[in-house]
Protein backbone atom coordinates (compact mmCIF):
# COMPACT_ATOMS: atom_id res chain seq x y z
CA UNK A 1 0.00 0.00 0.00
CA UNK A 2 2.80 2.34 0.78
CA UNK A 3 4.58 1.76 -2.49
CA UNK A 4 1.40 2.45 -4.34
CA UNK A 5 0.99 5.59 -2.39
CA UNK A 6 4.52 6.49 -3.26
CA UNK A 7 3.85 6.15 -6.95
CA UNK A 8 0.76 8.19 -6.54
CA UNK A 9 2.85 10.92 -5.06
CA UNK A 10 5.26 11.02 -7.89
CA UNK A 11 2.57 11.40 -10.46
CA UNK A 12 1.25 14.83 -10.01
CA UNK A 13 1.53 17.00 -7.00
CA UNK A 14 -1.66 18.86 -7.59
CA UNK A 15 -3.64 15.80 -6.76
CA UNK A 16 -1.60 14.89 -3.73
CA UNK A 17 -4.59 15.65 -1.63
CA UNK A 18 -6.89 13.24 -3.35
CA UNK A 19 -4.25 10.62 -3.55
CA UNK A 20 -3.64 10.74 0.11
CA UNK A 21 -7.32 10.59 0.71
CA UNK A 22 -7.50 7.55 -1.44
CA UNK A 23 -4.55 5.93 0.17
CA UNK A 24 -5.76 6.60 3.61
CA UNK A 25 -9.42 5.99 3.25
CA UNK A 26 -10.13 3.70 0.38
CA UNK A 27 -8.82 0.35 -0.58
CA UNK A 28 -6.71 -0.19 -3.63
CA UNK A 29 -9.59 -0.84 -5.92
CA UNK A 30 -9.85 2.78 -6.95
CA UNK A 31 -6.24 3.39 -7.74
CA UNK A 32 -6.66 2.58 -11.41
CA UNK A 33 -9.51 5.00 -11.70
CA UNK A 34 -7.50 7.58 -9.92
CA UNK A 35 -4.58 7.09 -12.22
CA UNK A 36 -6.71 7.76 -15.27
CA UNK A 37 -8.25 10.81 -13.70
CA UNK A 38 -4.97 12.20 -12.58
CA UNK A 39 -3.30 11.97 -15.91
CA UNK A 40 -6.19 13.69 -17.63
CA UNK A 41 -6.23 17.06 -15.93
CA UNK A 42 -2.54 17.59 -16.35
CA UNK A 43 -3.36 19.40 -19.56
CA UNK A 44 -6.27 21.19 -18.12
CA UNK A 45 -7.47 24.76 -18.36
CA UNK A 46 -5.95 27.91 -17.04
CA UNK A 47 -7.10 27.70 -13.48
CA UNK A 48 -5.15 24.59 -12.81
CA UNK A 49 -1.93 24.04 -11.04
CA UNK A 50 0.19 25.18 -13.94
CA UNK A 51 -1.54 28.50 -14.12
CA UNK A 52 -0.97 28.92 -10.43
CA UNK A 53 2.66 28.40 -11.01
CA UNK A 54 2.59 30.92 -13.85
CA UNK A 55 4.78 28.67 -15.87
CA UNK A 56 4.24 26.87 -19.12
CA UNK A 57 2.83 23.42 -18.71
CA UNK A 58 5.81 21.27 -19.62
CA UNK A 59 8.11 23.24 -17.42
CA UNK A 60 5.72 22.94 -14.55
CA UNK A 61 5.41 19.23 -15.04
CA UNK A 62 9.17 19.03 -15.10
CA UNK A 63 9.31 20.84 -11.83
CA UNK A 64 6.84 18.45 -10.37
CA UNK A 65 8.75 15.42 -11.33
CA UNK A 66 12.03 16.73 -10.16
CA UNK A 67 12.31 16.35 -6.44
CA UNK A 68 14.11 19.64 -6.35
CA UNK A 69 11.81 21.75 -4.30
CA UNK A 70 14.22 24.66 -4.13
CA UNK A 71 13.39 25.62 -7.69
CA UNK A 72 9.78 25.82 -6.89
CA UNK A 73 10.38 28.06 -3.95
CA UNK A 74 12.07 30.59 -6.14
CA UNK A 75 9.20 30.60 -8.59
CA UNK A 76 6.87 33.57 -8.16
CA UNK A 77 3.74 31.66 -7.47
CA UNK A 78 1.18 31.71 -4.74
CA UNK A 79 0.80 28.82 -2.37
CA UNK A 80 4.36 27.88 -2.99
CA UNK A 81 5.02 26.79 0.51
CA UNK A 82 2.00 24.60 0.30
CA UNK A 83 3.47 22.89 -2.69
CA UNK A 84 6.75 22.58 -0.98
CA UNK A 85 5.14 20.67 1.77
CA UNK A 86 3.69 18.38 -0.79
CA UNK A 87 7.03 17.47 -2.20
CA UNK A 88 7.94 15.52 0.83
CA UNK A 89 7.24 11.96 0.07
CA UNK A 90 5.50 10.93 3.21
CA UNK A 91 6.64 7.84 4.89
CA UNK A 92 4.44 5.34 6.56
CA UNK A 93 4.02 7.56 9.52
CA UNK A 94 2.80 10.46 7.46
CA UNK A 95 0.13 8.46 5.73
CA UNK A 96 -1.03 6.84 8.88
CA UNK A 97 -1.16 10.19 10.55
CA UNK A 98 -3.31 11.55 7.78
CA UNK A 99 -5.52 8.52 7.97
CA UNK A 100 -5.90 9.12 11.64
CA UNK A 101 -6.75 12.70 10.98
CA UNK A 102 -9.45 11.77 8.55
CA UNK A 103 -10.95 9.23 10.84
CA UNK A 104 -10.92 11.36 13.94
CA UNK A 105 -14.19 13.22 13.98
CA UNK A 106 -13.05 15.93 16.27
CA UNK A 107 -13.88 19.53 15.77
CA UNK A 108 -10.39 20.84 15.57
CA UNK A 109 -11.38 24.44 15.81
CA UNK A 110 -13.03 24.44 12.48
CA UNK A 111 -13.60 28.04 11.55
CA UNK A 112 -16.44 27.27 9.27
CA UNK A 113 -18.94 27.38 12.04
CA UNK A 114 -21.35 29.29 9.92
CA UNK A 115 -21.62 26.67 7.27
CA UNK A 116 -24.34 24.41 8.54
CA UNK A 117 -23.87 21.88 5.82
CA UNK A 118 -20.41 21.06 6.98
CA UNK A 119 -21.17 20.86 10.64
CA UNK A 120 -24.19 18.73 10.11
CA UNK A 121 -22.07 16.04 8.62
CA UNK A 122 -19.00 15.46 10.71
CA UNK A 123 -17.23 13.32 8.23
CA UNK A 124 -17.70 15.82 5.50
CA UNK A 125 -16.43 18.57 7.75
CA UNK A 126 -13.28 16.72 8.53
CA UNK A 127 -12.83 15.65 4.99
CA UNK A 128 -13.15 19.15 3.73
CA UNK A 129 -11.02 20.50 6.50
CA UNK A 130 -8.34 18.09 5.52
CA UNK A 131 -8.97 19.10 1.95
CA UNK A 132 -8.37 22.65 2.93
CA UNK A 133 -5.25 22.07 4.91
CA UNK A 134 -3.61 19.79 2.43
CA UNK A 135 -1.15 21.39 0.08
CA UNK A 136 -1.32 21.53 -3.65
CA UNK A 137 -4.91 21.84 -4.53
CA UNK A 138 -6.59 23.36 -7.51
CA UNK A 139 -10.13 24.35 -7.89
CA UNK A 140 -11.19 23.11 -11.23
CA UNK A 141 -9.33 19.87 -11.29
CA UNK A 142 -10.42 18.84 -7.86
CA UNK A 143 -13.99 17.86 -8.51
CA UNK A 144 -12.90 15.67 -11.37
CA UNK A 145 -10.60 13.64 -9.26
CA UNK A 146 -12.32 13.70 -5.99
CA UNK A 147 -15.60 12.55 -7.42
CA UNK A 148 -15.06 8.92 -6.66
CA UNK A 149 -13.99 9.67 -3.15
CA UNK A 150 -16.75 12.20 -2.68
CA UNK A 151 -19.41 9.92 -3.96
CA UNK A 152 -18.15 7.15 -1.88
CA UNK A 153 -18.44 9.24 1.20
CA UNK A 154 -21.89 10.27 0.21
CA UNK A 155 -21.08 13.94 0.33
CA UNK A 156 -22.78 16.26 -2.02
CA UNK A 157 -20.65 18.44 -4.21
CA UNK A 158 -22.69 21.44 -3.23
CA UNK A 159 -21.59 21.03 0.36
CA UNK A 160 -18.05 20.78 -0.76
CA UNK A 161 -18.24 23.92 -2.79
CA UNK A 162 -19.95 25.79 -0.05
CA UNK A 163 -17.38 24.81 2.49
CA UNK A 164 -14.67 25.60 0.04
CA UNK A 165 -16.28 28.92 -0.44
CA UNK A 166 -15.84 29.46 3.24
CA UNK A 167 -12.22 28.51 3.14
CA UNK A 168 -11.31 32.05 2.42
CA UNK A 169 -12.38 33.05 5.90
CA UNK A 170 -10.04 30.63 7.52
CA UNK A 171 -7.22 31.29 5.17
CA UNK A 172 -5.25 32.92 7.94
CA UNK A 173 -5.31 29.83 10.09
CA UNK A 174 -4.31 27.67 7.18
CA UNK A 175 -1.56 30.04 6.32
CA UNK A 176 -0.29 30.10 9.85
CA UNK A 177 -0.06 26.38 9.99
CA UNK A 178 1.88 26.22 6.78
CA UNK A 179 3.88 29.38 7.25
CA UNK A 180 5.99 27.93 9.95
CA UNK A 181 8.49 26.59 7.53
CA UNK A 182 8.92 29.46 5.17
CA UNK A 183 7.72 33.04 5.09
CA UNK A 184 7.25 34.56 1.71
CA UNK A 185 6.37 38.19 1.10
CA UNK A 186 3.12 37.36 -0.64
CA UNK A 187 -0.42 37.31 0.52
CA UNK A 188 -1.52 33.75 -0.03
CA UNK A 189 -5.17 33.64 -0.68
CA UNK A 190 -7.04 30.54 -1.53
CA UNK A 191 -9.30 31.10 -4.47
CA UNK A 192 -12.87 30.01 -4.43
CA UNK A 193 -14.10 27.49 -6.83
CA UNK A 194 -14.39 28.82 -10.33
CA UNK A 195 -12.89 32.20 -9.55
CA UNK A 196 -9.82 33.71 -11.05
CA UNK A 197 -6.69 34.12 -9.04
CA UNK A 198 -4.98 37.08 -10.59
CA UNK A 199 -3.97 39.91 -8.36
CA UNK A 200 -6.71 42.29 -9.42
CA UNK A 201 -9.58 40.03 -8.62
CA UNK A 202 -7.90 38.97 -5.42
CA UNK A 203 -7.62 42.56 -4.31
CA UNK A 204 -11.16 43.15 -5.42
CA UNK A 205 -12.36 40.18 -3.46
CA UNK A 206 -10.45 41.27 -0.37
CA UNK A 207 -12.05 44.68 -0.65
CA UNK A 208 -15.46 43.19 -0.95
CA UNK A 209 -14.83 41.06 2.11
CA UNK A 210 -13.85 44.14 4.06
CA UNK A 211 -16.96 45.96 2.94
CA UNK A 212 -19.14 43.01 3.88
CA UNK A 213 -17.57 42.81 7.31
CA UNK A 214 -18.24 46.48 7.91
CA UNK A 215 -21.79 46.14 6.72
CA UNK A 216 -22.28 43.42 9.29
CA UNK A 217 -21.01 45.70 12.04
CA UNK A 218 -23.36 48.43 10.89
CA UNK A 219 -26.24 45.99 10.88
CA UNK A 220 -25.58 45.27 14.51
CA UNK A 221 -25.44 48.94 15.37
CA UNK A 222 -28.67 49.91 13.73
CA UNK A 223 -31.67 48.32 15.43
CA UNK A 224 -33.87 46.27 13.23
CA UNK A 225 -31.35 45.70 10.51
CA UNK A 226 -30.64 42.09 11.26
CA UNK A 227 -33.73 40.81 9.59
CA UNK A 228 -33.24 42.73 6.41
CA UNK A 229 -31.41 40.96 3.68
CA UNK A 230 -29.79 42.77 0.82
CA UNK A 231 -27.22 45.43 1.20
CA UNK A 232 -29.17 48.19 -0.52
CA UNK A 233 -32.05 47.86 1.91
CA UNK A 234 -29.69 47.73 4.85
CA UNK A 235 -28.03 50.89 3.64
CA UNK A 236 -31.42 52.53 3.33
CA UNK A 237 -32.14 51.58 6.89
CA UNK A 238 -28.81 52.98 8.02
CA UNK A 239 -29.49 56.22 6.19
CA UNK A 240 -32.87 56.50 7.86
CA UNK A 241 -31.31 55.87 11.22
CA UNK A 242 -28.66 58.55 10.77
CA UNK A 243 -31.26 61.02 9.58
CA UNK A 244 -33.48 60.29 12.55
CA UNK A 245 -30.58 60.73 14.95
CA UNK A 246 -29.67 64.06 13.43
CA UNK A 247 -33.28 65.18 13.62
CA UNK A 248 -33.40 64.12 17.25
CA UNK A 249 -30.36 66.26 17.99
CA UNK A 250 -32.04 69.26 16.41
CA UNK A 251 -35.26 68.62 18.29
CA UNK A 252 -33.47 68.30 21.61
CA UNK A 253 -31.49 71.46 21.05
CA UNK A 254 -34.74 73.26 20.29
CA UNK A 255 -36.10 71.89 23.54
CA UNK A 256 -33.04 73.07 25.41
CA UNK A 257 -33.37 76.50 23.87
CA UNK A 258 -36.94 76.80 25.03
CA UNK A 259 -36.45 75.49 28.53
CA UNK A 260 -36.76 77.93 31.38
CA UNK A 261 -33.61 78.31 33.37
CA UNK A 262 -35.11 77.95 36.80
CA UNK A 263 -31.82 76.66 38.01
CA UNK A 264 -28.40 77.51 36.87
CA UNK A 265 -26.56 74.94 34.90
CA UNK A 266 -24.43 73.65 37.67
CA UNK A 267 -22.68 70.53 36.64
CA UNK A 268 -23.03 68.57 39.81
CA UNK A 269 -26.76 68.53 39.72
CA UNK A 270 -26.76 67.36 36.17
CA UNK A 271 -24.26 64.65 36.83
CA UNK A 272 -25.99 63.37 39.90
CA UNK A 273 -29.14 63.06 37.91
CA UNK A 274 -27.33 60.87 35.45
Amino acid sequence: MESNAGTLETRSNKTALEREEVAALESLQFTDEIHCLMSAPATDNASSFTALLELPAPQAVQLIHSPDSAKLIAAPAPNVEDFKGGFHFPSNGGLIERAARFSVFAGEGNNNSDSPEATSNNSSANLQKAVKSEPAETDSSQPLISDPTVENRGIKRKDREKVKGQTKKSKTTVKESSDDTEKLPYVHVRARRGQATDSHSLAERARREKINARMKLLQELVPGCNKISGTALVLDEIINHVQSLQRQVEFLSMRLAAVNPRVDFNFDSVFTAE
Binding site: K210, L218, V222, A257, P261, F271, E274
Partner: protein, 165 residues
Protein backbone atom coordinates in the same frame (compact mmCIF):
# COMPACT_ATOMS: atom_id res chain seq x y z
CA UNK B 1 -15.74 69.01 39.84
CA UNK B 2 -15.51 65.32 40.31
CA UNK B 3 -17.87 63.09 38.46
CA UNK B 4 -18.34 60.10 40.70
CA UNK B 5 -21.36 58.91 38.81
CA UNK B 6 -19.70 58.71 35.46
CA UNK B 7 -18.25 55.33 34.89
CA UNK B 8 -15.25 56.57 33.04
CA UNK B 9 -14.13 60.18 33.32
CA UNK B 10 -12.41 60.04 29.97
CA UNK B 11 -15.14 58.32 28.06
CA UNK B 12 -16.81 59.94 25.13
CA UNK B 13 -19.95 60.44 27.15
CA UNK B 14 -18.35 62.44 29.94
CA UNK B 15 -16.13 64.42 27.58
CA UNK B 16 -19.12 65.43 25.53
CA UNK B 17 -21.24 66.23 28.56
CA UNK B 18 -18.73 68.52 30.21
CA UNK B 19 -18.05 70.41 27.04
CA UNK B 20 -21.68 70.72 26.12
CA UNK B 21 -22.73 71.95 29.54
CA UNK B 22 -19.98 74.50 29.52
CA UNK B 23 -21.17 75.76 26.16
CA UNK B 24 -24.74 75.85 27.37
CA UNK B 25 -23.86 78.00 30.35
CA UNK B 26 -22.00 80.32 28.06
CA UNK B 27 -24.98 80.63 25.75
CA UNK B 28 -27.33 81.29 28.61
CA UNK B 29 -24.98 83.84 30.11
CA UNK B 30 -24.88 85.75 26.86
CA UNK B 31 -28.57 86.37 26.53
CA UNK B 32 -30.68 86.35 29.65
CA UNK B 33 -34.10 85.07 28.83
CA UNK B 34 -36.23 88.13 29.18
CA UNK B 35 -38.48 87.50 26.29
CA UNK B 36 -39.19 84.10 24.99
CA UNK B 37 -40.06 85.26 21.54
CA UNK B 38 -39.77 82.72 18.80
CA UNK B 39 -36.93 84.56 17.10
CA UNK B 40 -34.94 84.56 20.31
CA UNK B 41 -35.60 80.95 20.84
CA UNK B 42 -34.69 80.18 17.28
CA UNK B 43 -31.43 82.03 17.56
CA UNK B 44 -30.58 80.24 20.73
CA UNK B 45 -31.57 76.96 19.17
CA UNK B 46 -29.13 77.46 16.35
CA UNK B 47 -26.38 78.28 18.80
CA UNK B 48 -27.14 75.30 20.94
CA UNK B 49 -27.15 73.00 17.93
CA UNK B 50 -23.77 74.30 16.83
CA UNK B 51 -22.51 73.91 20.38
CA UNK B 52 -23.71 70.32 20.48
CA UNK B 53 -21.99 69.45 17.23
CA UNK B 54 -18.87 71.29 18.27
CA UNK B 55 -18.69 69.56 21.64
CA UNK B 56 -19.06 66.19 19.98
CA UNK B 57 -16.44 66.96 17.35
CA UNK B 58 -14.03 68.22 19.98
CA UNK B 59 -14.59 65.16 22.09
CA UNK B 60 -13.53 62.99 19.21
CA UNK B 61 -10.68 65.31 18.28
CA UNK B 62 -9.03 64.45 15.01
CA UNK B 63 -9.22 60.72 15.34
CA UNK B 64 -11.92 60.33 12.75
CA UNK B 65 -12.40 61.70 9.29
CA UNK B 66 -15.89 62.91 10.06
CA UNK B 67 -14.82 64.78 13.19
CA UNK B 68 -12.00 66.44 11.33
CA UNK B 69 -14.37 67.48 8.56
CA UNK B 70 -16.89 68.78 11.04
CA UNK B 71 -14.27 70.79 12.92
CA UNK B 72 -13.05 72.21 9.67
CA UNK B 73 -16.57 73.18 8.70
CA UNK B 74 -17.25 74.82 12.05
CA UNK B 75 -14.00 76.73 11.99
CA UNK B 76 -14.46 78.02 8.49
CA UNK B 77 -18.01 79.00 9.30
CA UNK B 78 -16.94 80.88 12.42
CA UNK B 79 -14.14 82.64 10.54
CA UNK B 80 -16.55 83.74 7.89
CA UNK B 81 -19.03 84.95 10.44
CA UNK B 82 -16.53 86.91 12.51
CA UNK B 83 -14.55 88.61 9.83
CA UNK B 84 -15.87 88.60 6.29
CA UNK B 85 -12.64 90.11 4.95
CA UNK B 86 -10.40 87.39 6.21
CA UNK B 87 -13.00 84.86 5.21
CA UNK B 88 -12.67 85.97 1.65
CA UNK B 89 -8.97 85.35 1.71
CA UNK B 90 -8.48 82.17 3.62
CA UNK B 91 -11.79 80.55 4.33
CA UNK B 92 -13.35 80.89 0.95
CA UNK B 93 -10.31 79.79 -0.97
CA UNK B 94 -9.94 76.78 1.23
CA UNK B 95 -13.56 75.97 0.87
CA UNK B 96 -13.38 76.41 -2.86
CA UNK B 97 -10.49 74.00 -3.01
CA UNK B 98 -12.27 71.52 -0.83
CA UNK B 99 -15.44 71.81 -2.84
CA UNK B 100 -13.55 71.36 -6.05
CA UNK B 101 -11.81 68.28 -4.78
CA UNK B 102 -15.03 66.86 -3.49
CA UNK B 103 -16.70 67.59 -6.79
CA UNK B 104 -13.95 65.80 -8.61
CA UNK B 105 -14.31 62.88 -6.33
CA UNK B 106 -18.01 62.68 -6.75
CA UNK B 107 -18.07 63.19 -10.48
CA UNK B 108 -15.98 60.06 -10.89
CA UNK B 109 -18.91 57.82 -10.16
CA UNK B 110 -17.73 55.40 -7.55
CA UNK B 111 -19.16 52.27 -9.02
CA UNK B 112 -16.38 50.08 -7.68
CA UNK B 113 -18.16 46.93 -8.68
CA UNK B 114 -20.62 47.06 -5.81
CA UNK B 115 -24.24 47.63 -6.55
CA UNK B 116 -25.31 50.41 -4.20
CA UNK B 117 -24.07 53.73 -5.48
CA UNK B 118 -27.13 55.88 -4.84
CA UNK B 119 -27.40 54.87 -1.22
CA UNK B 120 -23.69 55.37 -0.75
CA UNK B 121 -23.94 58.88 -2.15
CA UNK B 122 -26.82 59.67 0.12
CA UNK B 123 -24.85 58.40 3.06
CA UNK B 124 -21.94 60.52 1.99
CA UNK B 125 -24.11 63.61 2.24
CA UNK B 126 -25.23 62.67 5.72
CA UNK B 127 -21.89 61.89 7.25
CA UNK B 128 -19.74 65.00 7.48
CA UNK B 129 -16.77 64.79 5.21
CA UNK B 130 -18.22 61.80 3.45
CA UNK B 131 -17.61 63.03 -0.04
CA UNK B 132 -13.93 62.28 0.13
CA UNK B 133 -14.23 58.75 1.38
CA UNK B 134 -14.28 55.52 -0.45
CA UNK B 135 -16.95 53.03 0.46
CA UNK B 136 -14.83 51.14 2.91
CA UNK B 137 -13.94 54.20 4.95
CA UNK B 138 -17.45 55.51 4.60
CA UNK B 139 -18.90 52.47 6.33
CA UNK B 140 -16.31 52.73 9.07
CA UNK B 141 -16.99 56.38 9.64
CA UNK B 142 -20.72 55.80 9.57
CA UNK B 143 -20.46 53.26 12.34
CA UNK B 144 -18.48 55.60 14.56
CA UNK B 145 -20.71 58.51 13.67
CA UNK B 146 -23.81 56.58 14.63
CA UNK B 147 -22.24 55.66 17.93
CA UNK B 148 -21.37 59.27 18.67
CA UNK B 149 -24.77 60.55 17.58
CA UNK B 150 -26.46 58.05 19.87
CA UNK B 151 -24.35 59.21 22.79
CA UNK B 152 -25.13 62.81 21.96
CA UNK B 153 -28.85 62.19 21.82
CA UNK B 154 -28.84 60.31 25.10
CA UNK B 155 -26.95 63.00 26.96
CA UNK B 156 -28.97 65.86 25.54
CA UNK B 157 -32.14 64.02 26.44
CA UNK B 158 -30.95 63.65 30.01
CA UNK B 159 -30.11 67.32 30.26
CA UNK B 160 -33.37 68.42 28.74
CA UNK B 161 -35.34 66.13 31.02
CA UNK B 162 -33.46 67.37 34.03
CA UNK B 163 -34.22 70.97 33.30
CA UNK B 164 -37.72 70.80 32.09
CA UNK B 165 -39.77 68.76 34.54
Amino acid sequence: MNNPHHLNPTSLKSRFTTRFLRALTKIRAQKPISSSSPTEIFRRYRRIKVAADKSMAYSVRSRRIWSRAMLWKLRSRSYRRQDPCSGRRSGKTNQAIMKKSSNENTTTRREDGVGFVEEADELRQLVPGGETMNLCNLLDETAHYIKCLTTQVQEMKKIADFYSF
